[in-house]
Symmetry: C2
Subunit: 218 residues, 2 copies
């Protein structure tokens, strides 16, 4: 068995980069590439080679000069570090246009995330199919569902005013049933106990990132 990666040594700012490396390395793997140097990777993903070497050193991986890194091994190490060597059960709460779009997002399954249920409060939506013969459940059943199934991650796509109360219900369950992580798309800051991981997606931030770099006449 491979030695475990010390996750506490990996800074949180490094984690998004790991996902970028993983995507690129898998692409190389699918093209039959067996080895890659930090310099080659740096050119492919527009990042500094020294930074890449530093990031890979968290796995105890050191490329050999002139030979580079073993692609397959790096893929395995990064997957293990990101917790992707297993399947995570995901639910979506809020079956509006965004929730529906995410339910169709093919990338999730490819990465080991399994959408096991979708919830909404609207009687017009409850019972409607959302793929693979499954139907949208009534949000009133949220607690009962979480007690019967292991829910690892909840994606919250409800309106801003409803987000906190949904999250309170998800994290207010008994410790063995509560949701471990929340991906919140509602445009509002939400709170959860310290041991629940929360990530906020804010589309405005993405546009602000672009406007920072846009240099145009008004």
């Amino acid at each position: 068995m491979a030695r475990p990666v010390d996750k506490t040594a990996v800074p949180s700012v490094t984690v998004p980069r790991l996902t970028v490396y993983l995507r690129k390395l898998r692409e190389l793997q699918s093209r039959g590439v067996e080895r890659v140097s930090s310099k080659q990777l740096a050119e492919m993903i527009d990042l500094n080679a020294a930074q890449i070497r530093k990031d890979f050193s968290y796995f105890g991986e050191f490329g050999t000069r002139g030979v580079g890194y073993e692609v397959e091994r790096l893929v395995d190490e990064i997957k293990r570090c990101l917790g992707l060597e297993r399947t995570w059960n995901v639910i979506i709460v809020g079956a509006g246009s965004l929730g529906t779009a995410l339910a169709r997002y093919r990338g999730f399954t490819e990465q080991g995330f399994k959408l096991i249920a979708m919830f909404d409060t609207s009687p017009k939506k409850v019972g409607v199919g959302f793929g693979d013969g499954r139907t949208i459940r009534d949000a009133a059943e949220l607690e009962r569902f979480c007690r019967g199934e292991t829910v690892d991650i909840a994606i919250v796509t409800v309106p801003a005013h409803a987000a906190q109360s949904i999250i309170d219900r998800l994290v207010g369950l008994e410790p063995e049933h509560r949701v471990g992580a929340i991906l919140n798309f509602a445009p509002v800051k939400v709170f959860a106990p310290r041991d629940v991981v929360v990530r906020q997606v804010d589309f405005s931030s993405e546009l602000m990132f672009l406007s920072f770099y846009l240099d145009r006449e008004a």
Copy 2:
């Protein structure tokens, strides 16, 4: 007039933090808070106070010990730095569920982004309303539209296989008409000339970020 911020001095990893500061500072402003210390801000957004002071120093802003920073002034500085003191014209290409969700996203207008058009190739969608009496346009008119209006940012929400050809059309226009920045939601790596800013949104990465921190029995 305020002295201009030297954007080239601001590292790209700092930019996402600026959007977080801005959101929090605006919230404080709306609650009538006039001054805030780096320590208080650090607690509110779960970040290191020294990091916050360093980030604010890019604007030449130095808090006064015991008094802190002027909230209003910081908001103005960050807005100016992020290019948010003006309005940016945005189009969405791809009127599927994700494109529709983004068209309804209220955060955009609040931050100075103006959705001026939405495009799709499907005859079923072209002509359908998407808010404020506007209707979805035929993607065949993309070039003509961009020559008639200033399009600063294009949000691409087409299927993966169609993304690059749409982007080629948007950036292939005459320099004075081409789109300045692209926010790509299609789950595929896309390419554009160096002077066009491209940002890739990948929902799988968000889930991977969570699974990194999830520590659970399989």
